[in-house]
């Protein structure tokens, strides 16, 4: 050994005169990194309680619990994640999966207690020191575990679609549907919103598992017209879809359609295994629309013998006569109706109650009555010139086209209104070879029509004139109609839910068209009800008052569909039909 080997170790003492490495106060001086994953934070307002965090947690650390002050609404389950820090391993999968981005992690990491029971809290609700910490881990902008983009639905191009009545939407292929189904987080928020409370997550899972038979059974549990609803449903479910908070909601409607599209209708009976024992009781249904058909299905599967009285020459009601073929091909509607017929439901067509058969006869001959006659009496605009030739109602046009009559609308039309009927009428007019202009009192975002409808109408080059208050219709010298309106501005009124249009004085415009189609809504037609029943059944603002079993104030009479519910769409009518069937069953079995 050299002398150097003995001396060099003493070099270590040089260190003694340098500044020590030690952090004096590690607790204060060493906070977590800006993206350190510490204890959770949750934005209570943003969170919708979908429970994706609970499902993804590998350690079963998350419970969903009700929290004071959080109400259950359509878009919010009212539950909030409660995290067990005796389980959590701070992997942040819950943050990455969060459908709203409300769940975050602070960079606080110190929590010490002598009681092991306290290490659970609801982030956002409990007052913790890290509740409002800025730094911490949150979802990365460009990275999410969710699939936010909807699988594109193959559609006809607007150029092609406006030329014919061929169905615009082509439907998903198997790959597309399974891919789309995989986006679902199975939170189940949609079930409460669906008027029929369909088992949406379950049938989407069945699609994912490629078990379409099971999926169809799930559909028929709550909805006997899936082919119809798969096309024209107002899909309230998609509005509340948790994926929709940050991205595009799941195409629940198209997935439903996919199930029915994939299964040959001849196999329905084998798959659904609808078996029932007739119980000898008879129920009459007025109106073969979705409400009536739905009630008929559930009644007949409960063993009742059901007769439907329909005034038109084909069943389907507003779905057949109010929805144009490019949205709702008639063969698909027939598929739904035929299955119900197959089960033994008798549909008597061309039989208008009050004219061909008396309401009192039905009342006396059947054990129970259900009517779901729908809204088929178009509202009047109540302006001058409304009765001029060339002024049609939207329903009239759609009805004519269904029946194969080509209405005389010329080369240009003005459609008044902003609902689905107005859209349908405008787009139908396009297909009949006319230029359509849509005129609406309020702004575009106020339109009651589905956004998809509005979007497609735009794509198909329907002209939109908004904030226009109709004044009158005049006949011009060259045989055309002149539609005159007053431009309006939107004024928010105190206490009103939405701003209302107020005419701007003097700002009057006009448009020359060949025809004017008014589609500003419809009312119910109760002319089939004899006065003695009409007086017994209670109404409110033109709608029948029913209880939760769809029972009217006359115990034996049940009602549902557009005439009773506020949403006035097919799925609500179907739900009413189902409820009425259950109500009738309860009512008749109690006796």
């Amino acid at each position: 050994m050299k002398l150097k080997d003995y001396l060099s170790p003493f070099y270590v003492w040089k260190r003694a005169f340098d500044k020590p490495f030690t952090t004096r106060k590690p607790l204060e001086d060493r906070p977590g990194a800006p993206r350190y994953r510490g204890f959770h934070q949750n934005d209570m307002e943003k969170c919708i309680g979908c429970g994706s965090c609970e499902v993804i947690c590998q350690n079963a650390a998350i419970d969903l619990v009700p929290v004071d002050g959080i109400e259950t609404t359509r878009k919010d389950s009212g539950l909030r994640p409660k995290i067990d820090y005796g389980r959590c391993c701070w992997c942040a999968l819950c943050v990455d999966i969060c459908t709203t981005g409300s769940l975050k992690m602070s960079n606080e990491y110190i929590w010490i207690d002598s009681d092991p029971e306290v290490f659970r809290f609801v982030p956002g609700a409990s007052e913790k020191p890290w509740k409002n910490t800025e730094a911490g881990y949150s979802q990365h902008e460009n990275y999410t575990l969710l699939n936010l983009d909807r699988i594109d639905m193959p559609m006809l191009t607007p150029e092609d679609s406006r030329k014919s009545f061929i169905e615009t939407v082509k439907g998903y292929s198997k790959e597309e549907a399974m891919k789309e189904a995989q986006r679902c987080v199975e939170c189940g928020l949609c079930v409460a919103t669906c008027p029929a409370h369909m088992d949406i997550p379950d049938y989407i899972r069945a699609i994912r598992d490629d078990n379409l038979d099971e999926a169809l059974r799930l559909l028929y549990d709550t909805n006997p017209m899936p082919a119809t609803c798969g096309r024209i449903c107002t899909h309230l479910c998609e509005d509340v879809c948790s994926i929709g908070v940050k991205g595009e909601p799941l195409a629940i409607r198209w997935l439903k359609r996919y199930i029915v599209d994939q299964i040959d209708d001849t196999r329905f009976k084998a798959i659904l295994r609808d078996e029932f024992k007739p119980n000898g009781k008879k129920v009459a249904i007025i109106g073969a629309g979705p409400g009536g058909l739905s009630a008929a299905y559930y009644l007949v599967t409960a063993g009742y013998s059901v007769t439907i009285y329909e005034a038109s020459d084909l069943a389907g009601g507003m779905i057949r006569y109010g929805v144009p073929e490019y949205r709702m091909p008639y063969d698909q509607l027939d598929q739904d109706i035929n299955y119900i017929k197959e089960l033994g439901v008798e549909i008597i067509l061309n039989n208008r109650i009050g004219k061909d058969t008396l309401f009192s006869d039905l009342y006396n001959n059947y054990d129970a009555l259900f009517f779901s006659t729908g809204l088929n009496d178009p509202y009047k605009m109540a302006i001058d010139g409304e009765s001029l030739p060339g002024v049609f109602s939207g329903l009239q046009i759609l009805d004519d086209v269904t029946k194969g009559i080509k209405p005389d609308i010329g080369k240009s039309v003005a459609v008044i209104g902003g609902g689905n009927v107005a859209m349908d009428a405008a787009r139908t007019a396009l297909r009949l070879g006319a230029e359509s202009t849509l005129i609406y009192r309020r702004r575009e975002e106020d339109m009651p029509a589905d956004t998809e409808e509005i979007h497609e109408a735009h794509a198909e080059k329907v002209k939109f004139i908004t904030q226009a208050i109709p004044l009158r219709i005049e006949k011009t010298a060259n045989g055309k109609l002149k539609f005159i309106w007053n431009n309006a501005e939107m004024v928010a009124k105190e206490g009103a839910a939405r701003p209302s249009p107020i005419a701007i004085e003097g700002d009057i415009q006009s448009l020359e068209v060949d025809a004017v189609i008014s589609a500003i809504g419809q009312g119910a037609d109760y002319s089939f009800l004899p006065p003695e029943y009409e007086s017994k059944i209670k109404f409110k603002r033109g709608k029948v008052i029913i209880n939760e079993n769809c029972q009217t104030t006359v115990p034996k009479i049940f009602a549902g569909g557009d005439i009773a519910n506020p949403t006035a769409d097919a799925i609500s009518a179907i739900a009413d039909g189902h409820n009425a069937a259950k109500g009738i069953d309860k009512f008749l079995n109690k006796k």
């Binding site: 952090t23 607790l27 005796g86 389980r87 391993c89 701070w90 002598s114 092991p116 290490f119």
Partner: protein, 209 residues
Amino acid sequence: MDNKEINNTKLANEGLSEQDRPLFCDARPQSYKPLGKYVEKFLNWARANSLWILGYGTGCGAIELRPLMTARFDMFRWGLAPRPTPRQAGVFVIGGYMSVKTLKRVIRSYEQMQGPKFVIGLGSCTINGGMYWDSYNTINRLDHYLPVDIYITGCMPRPEALIAGFNKLKEMIKAGETDGQNEYARNFDWYKANQKKIVKDWNMPDYNW
């Protein structure tokens, strides 16, 4: 044993052969009364400022104890020091999950420590199983087997959290709130029943001093 109130309730010491029994402890642990108020206060101050940690890494959390000894954290300046033998140590840091096999050794080590002794449950696993909650061989909650004075949640907690935990433990010792030793003696039968339910081959004395 220099303790007057010794209770000679004999233990069964099952699992030991007849000739081995006298070699091992056959008395139950005792409860101890604190000395006079001010004396105990002074002694508690000394206990709080000289915490010797049993350096037995029971789980992944043991790795969080190591940085404390480095120059960065320098735990010695708070009177903390690792101790290689349970006889001399006063704090048992349970570093996270404990398998059944480790639990057996931990029980033995804990009982060999001389009172007053303190237990720190480090990490989520000691509270409710943590990420090993559904494992066939790791326990879910530590407080069923040992009296735990404080828990530090985390998976794993950073060394800073461990420091905070020691600070809290010190405060509790100074306030005289930590009485794991007596709690263990009082609920001895309950702890033993829990331990024996898990540790299937109990081939050691019922109590290891």
